[in-house]
């Protein structure tokens, strides 16, 4: 009886194990087939073009011969391109700091008011993020319009002299930043509001019992709890802002005197409009190392966050 039982057991298990293995193999085949379209998109439309861009950047203007790093050398020697580097970095860093600060402030204010009113305010404040930026920038362009600026009209009421918004290089730079901050701050607000809501209320109660001031509650409770989401949002926004194209294209189109060009708009000007595809590819590739560094830190932040949640 016991012998028979022992003899039958492996016989049942053996086919069972084989079918489990077959099941697993079948499963991974199906899974692979299901991811095939995704792999095609990533491989064909992102990875291959990115590699192709590196190849393009090493060709001469007519794309007939290999000139190595020639395009990069020419770019780095040009005064205009050095201004583009400066402007891109200045634009991205200033805009992201302002967006993060304003977004944090607004999220905090929104968190303070009674819960039933929050939805309405949130709905209004997120409107800039919803309108396609190319179109809302048209509205800003019209508000900055030198002969009939409605912003200057308001400034004049308060006896502030008219500002040459898009005419002077520095004002043009500030205008581009203003529009970008207007467009992006609501995104930060929403992200921070979601994060603020996830901080447990007991921590604030404990802090209040310990006699913490509101500044101390912010410094020692809120900020540590939100550190990760703040860094992910800032890094992510740094990428998007750094690669921004719409606002510069519509608002200044690079002018006055090519002083407000960022990498994307300059790459467009050189590569598509002036028809020098290899040099345009080289311009946009300048973004790559900076983006790769930021992406590394974003990924680290996301992984850490996953581990915290697990």
């Amino acid at each position: 009886m016991a012998d028979g039982g022992a003899a039958t057991l492996p016989r049942i298990e053996a086919p069972g194990g084989a079918s489990l293995k077959r099941f697993a193999r079948r499963r991974s085949t199906i899974a692979f087939l299901m991811t095939l379209p995704l792999i095609a998109v990533i491989g064909g439309l992102v990875v291959w073009p990115a590699g192709y861009a590196i190849h393009l950047a090493t060709l001469n203007r007519r794309m007939t011969s290999f000139i190595g790093l020639g395009n990069f050398e020419i770019l780095l020697e040009s005064e205009t391109f050095r201004m583009v580097i400066f402007q891109s970095v200045f634009f991205a860093i200033t805009a992201v700091i302002l967006k993060a600060a304003i977004g944090f402030w607004l999220a905090h204010m929104l968190h303070h008011i009674p819960a039933n009113g929050q939805r309405k305010w949130r709905g209004m404040l997120l409107v800039p993020w919803v309108i396609p930026p190319a179109l809302s920038t048209l509205g800003w362009w019209w508000m900055f319009e030198p002969t009939y600026s409605s912003i200057n009209w308001i400034l004049n009421i308060f006896a502030i002299p008219s500002v040459p918004w898009l005419g002077e290089p520095w004002w043009a730079r500030i205008s581009v930043i203003i529009v970008n901050v207007w467009y992006g701050a609501p995104f930060f607000m929403i992200m921070y509001l979601a994060a603020l809501k996830s901080v447990p209320e007991q921590l604030y109660e404990a802090a209040a019992i310990d006699g913490a001031t509101s500044w101390q509650r912010l410094r020692y409770v809120t900020l540590p709890m939100m550190r990760n989401i703040i860094s992910i949002t800032v890094l992510f926004s740094l990428i998007v802002t750094f690669a921004n194209y719409d606002i510069v294209r519509v608002l200044t189109n690079g002018g006055p005197r090519d002083l407000t060009h960022v990498f994307a708009s300059y790459a467009f000007q050189v590569g598509i409009l002036a028809g020098n595809i290899p040099r345009g590819a080289a311009v946009s590739l300048f973004m790559f190392p900076i983006l790769a560094i930021i992406a590394f830190f974003v990924l680290r932040g996301v992984n850490r966050r996953n581990k915290e949640e697990a």
């Binding site: 439309l45 990875v47 990115a50 861009a53 997120l126 190319a134 048209l138 595809i277 973004m287």
Partner: protein, 297 residues
């Protein structure tokens, strides 16, 4: 006796009063900053709306306040709706967006299901790769894609946009769908497997209904991104007949030295309408999709 208790009482009341006053101050500051920022956030769209209601003569007249419409008219809107070119922009946008949204949702739901539930060799690396491609901006890819799309003969063709827009939508949609699928309890698919369901039935009958909020959020994301896409159409499309809304309004309604500002603003508002309407009706899903990238991932 009473002389000693009164100051103590006063002390207590004083403290309670200051706490309440502090709360009230915080509330006033909150409302004040919200009102100021709401005015700033809504000023450009409102000004666009005001301008779109003005006649060209009123726009040109610089004597009055620019923030006031003395004789509102809808003639700019009627002019645009009777403009064949403008209608074509709308149809092109609709065509491209619908195709891209459908394509994106099929690709990303299938892939997210496979990556999230059916572990296979390299699935973890692929999931990380999806996230990394989400971080690659379109402005880095448009020049090589210009060459590739040109090589396929799809330059200046709205279908060429359907080919390249998935680079904007697929990575993020897949990423948030992985998150949504991961939150579905494992017991549910075990039960389905025991009942003899195959993988497709499991996806179709269990995962898609349960993760429907996530699917709606991802669809909204894909829709708004494809509708607002600007870099690719600017680079690839040159003839007005193939242009989608964004680039059509920006490049074709601006003509010569005297801008028809009223019509331009009306065009921009009409072009922005579909995402705004979706936002107005599905705000919670919209916000869920927005925050999912960082909170789910």
């Amino acid at each position: 006796m009473s002389a000693t208790t009164i100051p103590v009482k006063q002390g207590i009341y004083h403290k309670a009063g200051s706490l309440r006053r502090e709360r009230r101050w915080a509330l006033w500051t909150a409302y004040l900053s919200l009102i100021v920022s709401a005015i700033i956030m809504l000023a450009p769209p409102v000004y666009m709306l005001l301008t779109s209601l003005k006649t060209s003569a009123e726009v040109a007249d610089q004597s009055g306040s620019p923030w006031w419409v003395s004789s509102p008219t809808l003639e700019n809107y009627w002019a645009l709706l009777g403009n064949r070119m403008f209608i074509d922009f709308f149809l092109n946008s609709a065509k491209v967006t619908i195709a891209v949204v459908a394509l994106t949702m099929v690709i990303s739901v299938l892939a997210a299901f496979a990556l999230g539930r059916m572990r296979f060799w390299g699935s973890q690396a692929l999931a990380t790769g999806v996230f990394l491609t989400y971080l690659v901006p379109d402005t880095l890819l448009f020049i090589p894609l210009y060459q590739i799309v040109g090589g396929l003969g799809l330059l200046d063709n709205a279908w060429g946009l359907v080919l390249v827009y998935p680079t904007l939508t697929v990575p993020f949609c897949t990423w948030i769908m992985i998150g949504y699928f991961a939150s579905i309890p494992k017991e549910l698919d075990e039960a389905a497997l025991i009942d003899g369901a195959n993988w497709m039935q499991m996806l179709w009958k269990i995962f898609i209904p349960v993760a429907l909020p996530g699917i709606i959020a991802a669809t909204i994301f894909a829709f708004t991104v494809s509708w607002a896409a600007f870099v690719y159409p600017t680079a690839f499309i040159t003839s007005p007949a193939e242009m989608p809304m964004t680039i059509g309004v920006v490049s074709q309604l601006i003509r010569g030295d005297t801008f028809a500002w009223g019509q331009l603003m009306a065009g921009a508002l009409l072009a922005a309408l579909p995402p705004v309407v979706i936002y107005a009706f599905l705000m919670d899903y919209y916000i869920a999709g927005l925050t999912a990238g960082a909170t789910k991932g």
